[in-house]
Symmetry: C2
């Protein structure tokens, strides 16, 4: 582990894995910390680990393709719902699956890859032959943000490369399930992006339909990340883009100043709450580094348990942040709110679709472009945060919307029911 | 030509190629009408026709890939401008180029294709095994529009399949440049979609930078069309999606009620003016058919020549609509405003980027979500349309924006110049 140890700067007052930035992010690192191996990710385990893999989990994954979708009459699980959800994922799948889509991966043409997930995107054209001489990091950052906005990126932050959050090994279907991390260690910067997911669709969680919000989020996130990484390469710099994996997303997002972690284990952002997909580009483009920013989430979630109560399999902790791990799918030695990946994913497989009830039920799940929600956020940040929580309880219907009402809002009027009557 | 003749219903009062719908679209068809062969499209001719193909046109196309981009110091043609433009096209290119991206085209794995352009998209997963029993066309259309909106489609109309506008043959790089039309003749409906292009970028036309508006338009249009076509297949219906080609776009858009043709030869739409990309899906999903809609464009453009005056190569006619053709790149026997594709494309090749000065300079190039522009549209539709034109001349700066100002709006303040001083 010389490679990793080499990169982990020590902080005399705490764990030897800690760094000064942890004080700013509020992430406490213990002595037993070790970088994560992707093979223990719950989705990877569903491929190789008999403790996770079952007929139900196989069926869950197969259902993302229509011939295997188990459409039924139940609200939210009809052919319409699966048809839209599976279409929403489609472009993401085309861009992702090297096994299917082969030869345009110029950098790695003969490898089995799952790009954006296990592997960085390689569907790039050759860039410029030398780095563009930006006058300053300010200029490069301004240009990047302008291009990112046009690529559909909702929010963007930059942090320094941090070896602690890189997957120590990447999952592979072959051998022991491990292959080397491909992102070069000498990359200095990480661009972290947020791609918002649709609020209306998420009102129908859990349902096959609501999975369309996730699918579209991944599709647009992938298009944005590939386009932006191509732009950086076109400016003559290195750029390795991915979505969820290759590294842990949330600690990098914290370090890039994009928010704080909530009780549900998700990043909470001031613009989108917990409702987005994260993308990342590892690059040597010279960029201004953002600072972590406390936005009162820790204090708010200390007094709020709405996600934990709403989670049917009780996967979310009711108690304070700790370094407790539920299984090998959680990282060791990091003090935080850690949901049980096993309980969570078992519920997905049982429902036959993904679930983010913890997003639907979160008081931060709001449209913060609206003035009233901006005012609510101010309240949630203040010592009156318990009032903010009460206001959310009183005024916001966080019940599940019938998917038949999503498809045809007219029905809601004729049926004369409120959403809350549909709460599950 | 039995195949075509079979489909062309006669109208006793006019040309034997006319149909009753032409009265509603205002498109007059003459006896010498014949369906278009794609090989005569100006972009296809730039591949095989020595009258068009030159070092400059080759260099124009190559410049969409960075190693061949002729970046220089001129405003709008720097490395930054090419870097963003070429990145904007990138995902579209990945999805498009069968020569590069091979094996995931399950329907046509071994064919050279340019999907979305010469050919329909085949990167689809298997859909549902039987058509969904919609209760009515209204239900199917409502669902389609809901899904389309979430796929990023800006506007959508439906018309009946019309053999007249299908390319009689599709371009092929092999043989005589012709291969058979692949869209089945028994497809009853055509969904026509509009994908808006960015207004700010278009202020910098002509420039390499402004081509990013086109590239992003194509990329998002492609993602939307593939996703929507996959949804239709997932509902158990046939769906063949493409962008520009496989058929003429504008007559189908007219028949689908999406606008009228302007002097610049472009479709003018009430929501986006002339500023969008068109997409199409040929399908047997049962859908409500839209009616053509006159929105006063013919009368307005009769009294306006701003695009014709602004066009450097004088490719746009100053006179009334006619069936005059400039070359084999124009369709025969259709009375309309017909620009010269040869003059237009020669200017593109000379500039080393695409050009839509005719969009930038068009009085309809506005953001019609704004109240003032909605009021302007009412005026442009009324007998006071010449006042609408004068107001546009007086109040709207349609000059070219410096691309350095697009990249850094702060510069504009310090340099203290107005856009109009930059007019070319």
């Amino acid at each position: 582990m010389a490679r990793v140890a080499n990169k982990l700067e020590t902080c005399s007052s705490c764990s030897h894995h800690s760094k000064p930035i942890d004080k700013l992010t509020g992430v406490e690192i213990r002595d037993n910390f070790e970088p994560f191996e992707q093979k223990f990710d719950i989705y990877c385990r569903s491929i190789w680990d008999p403790k996770i893999k079952s007929e139900k989990t196989d069926s869950f994954f197969e259902g993302y393709y229509m011939p295997y979708a188990r459409a039924r009459r139940a609200d939210g699980f009809s052919q319409k719902d699966y048809a839209f959800r599976n279409a929403a994922w489609h472009v993401n799948n085309v861009i992702r699956d090297i096994e299917k889509s082969g030869s345009f991966r110029k950098e790695k043409p003969n490898e089995i890859r799952k790009e954006g997930y296990w592997d960085y995107y390689t569907s790039h054209d050759e860039g410029w032959h030398e780095p563009y001489p930006f006058e300053s990091k300010e200029e490069a950052t301004r240009d990047l943000k302008k291009v990112a906005e046009y690529c559909g990126v909702g929010e963007l932050g930059v942090c320094e490369y941090d070896q602690r959050w890189m997957y120590k090994t990447i999952f592979s279907k072959e051998g022991e399930g491990r292959k080397p991390q491909e992102i070069p260690e000498d990359i200095p910067n990480v661009i972290v992006t947020l791609e918002p997911m649709d609020q209306e669709l998420i009102k129908t969680v859990p349902s096959a339909l609501s999975g369309a919000a996730t699918g579209l989020g991944y599709t647009y996130d992938g298009v944005a990340i590939i386009t932006l990484a191509q732009y950086i390469r076109n400016m003559g710099y290195r750029a390795y883009g991915s979505l969820n994996d290759t590294s842990l997303c949330i600690p990098l997002a914290l370090q890039a100043g994009l928010g704080e972690v909530g009780r549900n284990g998700l990043l909470i952002n001031e613009k989108y709450g917990p409702r987005f997909r994260i993308g990342k580009i590892f690059t040597d483009m010279p960029l201004e580094i953002n600072q972590p920013k406390k936005i009162g989430v820790r204090e708010f979630c200390d007094g709020c348990d709405r996600c934990a109560k709403a989670c049917p399999p009780r996967a979310i902790p009711f108690d304070a942040p700790s370094d407790h791990v539920h299984s090998e799918s959680n990282i060791n030695g990091v003090v935080k709110w850690t949901p049980s990946a096993e309980k969570c994913f078992r519920f997905w497989a049982n429902q036959n679709t993904d679930c983010i009830i913890c997003v639907r039920s979160c008081p931060y799940n709001r449209d913060f472009s609206k003035l009233l929600n901006k005012l609510w956020l101010k309240l949630a940040k203040s010592p009156l945060r318990s009032l903010a929580l009460k206001l959310d309880d009183w005024l916001v219907d966080r019940g599940r919307l019938k998917t038949s009402w999503w498809w045809n809002p007219e029905l809601q009027k004729t049926e004369g029911k409120s959403n809350s009557e549909m709460k599950k």
